[in-house]
């Protein structure tokens, strides 16, 4: 397949630049050594903004920290990666919670329901982070909380939509991109249609693909074919999981519980309609309003941290002076070194050092 790719790229004068949008794809690309093999075959892979832990701005992490350090009898439940993100107030894992408060790491959002039910005297906040892959599960959890009358449960939303930042990346023109590898599991929920505008308005080819090394190569081959034919399409190379319309039941739950809002992304700034908040019917479960959280937008990264530029594809992780030095997996200084799909951690684990 690599030979096929190499044959394809010989038609073009310059290496082809393909953005893998999804952090899990970044992981596959590096873990199996595809990054270098593809470079030799004339394809440069650029990591996209697809790590939700990384793009959640500091101010939201800090609001979560304030919740359990400044309030008694709070339980903050969240996914493991979120607890290690360093901020100016420390990280969730390193701060000391106030009396009666605690941090709980969960695997499934559903666990938050159980925690809330068995701790009726405490406020349980689910710090929910994720893209469309995770959002339906979180939306369903909030819906169940209302149905079961769990008034002590609320959601601190760090929920992000994938198509809006792609539009932002294309429009800023900071990074030249010849093709997009679209995320497989986000697409399992949203289907093919939400990417159409990239093919139709911006004439950039793309392919949805799965997470095995051969899936990635199939996606890249499809993009090269489109480039050669002067076409721009949204190809689906992950048909075993992704249906053209996505998962209608999951989309319906999302739509019932959540609505789009303009949101700040780390590195990318304010992107219209790229975040989600609870709809009116579920407003009582919104931790931000319930506890009058002060989420001051754009309150900034730690000094010297260049995760923002990494997320925009402007620099590759080893170009950051902190990489591997002050910032490493044991003591991450920026979020991209925390998450398993953060570009910096992926480079640290599998890259040339």
């Amino acid at each position: 397949m690599l030979k096929e790719i190499e044959k394809g790229t010989q038609t073009f004068f310059c290496p082809i630049r393909i953005m893998e949008v999804c952090g899990t794809h970044t992981m596959t690309v590096h873990r199996y050594g595809l990054k270098n093999l593809l470079e030799n075959a004339g394809v440069n892979m650029i990591s996209g903004p697809g790590c939700p832990v990384c793009i959640t701005p500091n101010e939201i992490h800090e609001a979560a920290i304030e919740l359990i350090t400044e309030n008694k009898d709070f339980i903050l439940a969240t996914f493991g990666d979120m607890t290690r993100v360093p901020t100016r107030k420390g990280s969730l894992q390193r701060v000391a919670p106030a009396k009666g408060s605690m941090l709980k790491i969960v695997y499934s959002p559903q666990e938050a329901l159980e925690i809330a039910a068995s701790n009726p005297a405490k406020n349980v906040v689910f710090f929910g982070v994720g893209f469309e892959t995770t959002i339906p599960a979180i939306a369903l959890t909030v819906k169940k909380a209302l149905e079961n009358g769990l008034a002590n449960l609320s959601l601190l939303s760090a929920l992000w939509l994938i198509p809006p930042p792609l539009k932002a990346i294309v429009e800023t023109k900071e990074t030249a991109i010849d093709g997009f590898l679209y995320p497989g599991h986000v697409s399992a929920i949203i289907g093919e249609k939400p990417y159409r505008f990239i093919a139709e308005e911006y004439r950039i080819p793309g392919a949805i693909c799965g997470f095995e090394p051969s899936d990635i190569l199939l996606g890249i081959l499809s993009i090269i074919e489109q480039l050669k034919e002067g076409k721009a399409d949204v190809a689906n190379e992950y048909t075993r999981v992704v249906r053209p319309d996505g998962n209608p039941k999951a989309l319906a739950v999302m739509d019932e519980v959540l609505e789009a809002k303009d949101a700040h992304w780390r590195g990318l700034g304010l992107i219209p309609c790229s975040g989600l908040r609870l709809k009116k019917k579920y407003a009582a479960f919104d931790a931000e309003t319930k506890f009058k959280l002060k989420i001051k937008e754009g309150s900034g990264d730690l000094p010297g941290c260049r995760c923002g530029e990494v997320l925009r594809g402007l620099i590759s992780p080893p170009q950051c002076p902190l990489f591997g030095q002050k910032c490493n997996p044991d003591f991450p200084y920026g979020p991209c070194m925390v998450s398993f799909e953060g570009s910096c951690l992926v480079h640290y684990k599998y890259g040339r050092r």
């Binding site: 096929e4 899990t24 499934s108 892959t133 995770t134 399992a188 999981v241 998962n247």
Partner: protein, 81 residues
């Protein structure tokens, strides 16, 4: 974060709760985001929820496409020799 694993449905009740078998480990899974799911189906599991059904026919097609590409390449290689 968008990591999802293929797993087989082994238990399922009316409320949409059940279990999958993932490489021999039984994992509690919520199936309410999918329609018409039954024991024996393959699904993609993410954060305790089944988010999509794995289509056996489509998987086979992708697999045979890959096999075709490999054998085409092998054909070319032997011609080069």
């Amino acid at each position: 974060m968008c990591l999802g694993v293929p797993a087989k449905v082994i238990e399922l009740d009316e409320s949409g709760q059940g279990k999958v078998d993932y490489l021999g480990t039984k994992v509690r899974t919520n199936f309410s985001l999918l329609e018409d799911i039954k024991v024996g189906d393959w699904v993609i599991v993410h954060a305790g929820f089944a988010i999509s059904r794995l289509d056996e026919k489509e998987a086979e097609e992708t697999f045979s496409l890959l096999k075709e590409m490999v054998s085409a390449q092998e054909g070319e290689n032997s011609q080069e020799k």
